[in-house]
Symmetry: none
Subunit: 142 residues, 4 copies
């Protein structure tokens, strides 16, 4: 079970809508399936060059270790050398700040992850959660 394209489109659209409603800076939203492979992504006009890579790295990191990227930040605060080493071990895609949120269905099955970048990390996470919940799914930010 994973996130299909129609669901991913809803998540992207609703995460961006949440950002617009709250006056956030331009956002980039990435939706990955449970295996860590891209389903859909959009980068808003005015976002800087590598926001896709940052948003993707938040979602990749969450899936790699099975925790929302907020939990990875807590780990980075305690053991920065672990996160640095894990980043190298997984080939670079692991960004340990909020905004990488696991997606589960009602029964708790992992479906994928959403990564958002462009605003403060807390606001990135809020947009990701808004998109996931608008699609009727469960968001796990940490």
């Amino acid at each position: 079970m994973t996130i299909d394209l129609q669901t991913a489109r809803t998540i992207v659209a609703e995460a961006l809508a949440a950002g617009r409603a709250k006056g956030f800076k331009p956002l980039t939203v990435v939706v990955l399936d449970a295996g860590g492979h891209l389903v859909a992504a959009e980068r808003e006009d005015g976002a800087s060059n590598k926001r896709f890579e940052i948003a993707s790295g938040k979602a990749q990191g969450a899936l790699a270790l099975g925790l929302g990227s907020r939990a990875l930040m807590a780990r980075a605060e305690q053991q920065p050398y672990f996160i640095a080493a894990a980043t190298a071990a997984v080939g670079g895609s692991l960004i340990p700040v909020p905004g990488g949120v696991l997606v589960r269905n009602e029964g708790g099955t992992l479906l994928g992850a959403v990564g958002v970048s462009g605003e403060t990390s807390d606001n990135d996470e809020a947009a990701a959660v808004a998109g996931i919940e608008a699609a009727g799914l469960q968001a796990q930010p940490d």
Copy 2:
């Protein structure tokens, strides 16, 4: 000047619609701005894991050398060592088969590139061109 998100959405939607109309296998479509940075991407249900990386590599390669990826294939046929070396030099994202198409406006200004993967390379290119032209822009496949 570059491709804005609204235009990229049109290109993605129309490229996928062209694929559905022609009975193509599941496609992945990536739209990059003139700097080679993602604007929008979608991977259809049933597409294999790394189709985003392949589609993106076609578009990246086109922008890297300023030619549609069909022209890069011609170069690969003549000088495979050049394409292999260029691939390494640019960090891996350069796929020299059709399906990476440059996007220009009416005046010929380069706006970005579209990469498509999932079907035969010729059909991938056809879907990319359909998307670009549906957005009122000029497609340069070679």
Copy 3:
């Protein structure tokens, strides 16, 4: 839906048993889930150092492009520059010779892939297929 550990153990055991029954050289067998992540692997005594990486690359390549690695070899024969470029684009794990076999259930749903290395490529593939079929699943070698 993916390959669970118990099924992966059966595939590994039966692929190795097939190799012993046929007098093959020491084999390495890797089972990946549908997302391309390791479920189980074993390298027989006497196998050379990097057989895990080769076997894994066969299975990774099959999942990356949605074809058994025998089909990737055919593509490599026709367009070596495509396979070289795709290998770079996916980060190195793509070995285009027989022995990387997709695994599907009765209904055709993709569950993962098996990679085998150590003997001739044809024999590697035979061992992978034997393991998959012994687990009651469908093998797609090309």
Copy 4:
């Protein structure tokens, strides 16, 4: 002298059994020979995507520097830049937290290493040690 496949199977099975007996989260266990090459690995159902890479990195790091990964953590606390640089120098596989345990025979000869990931680092290490000792070998966690 190194770890043969039969011994590696015992280590994997007993490390996982120890985890089940103690109610640990899903574990991934990797056994490497003295040269740092995979002999056997299993990832339990429900473990996150990159647990193999993390477990393998703990064992690789232990063999790289000849110390259990608990000792590498102590070094990381004192000189994080050394561990970061060593991680880069060895190509990424060096995870400096407990759970990477050297394996020696009765006479103290180095046979290989075991890496475990999925629970707290202390519990990962406990599972690795349980597996090694169940195989009648000596565990060196630091």
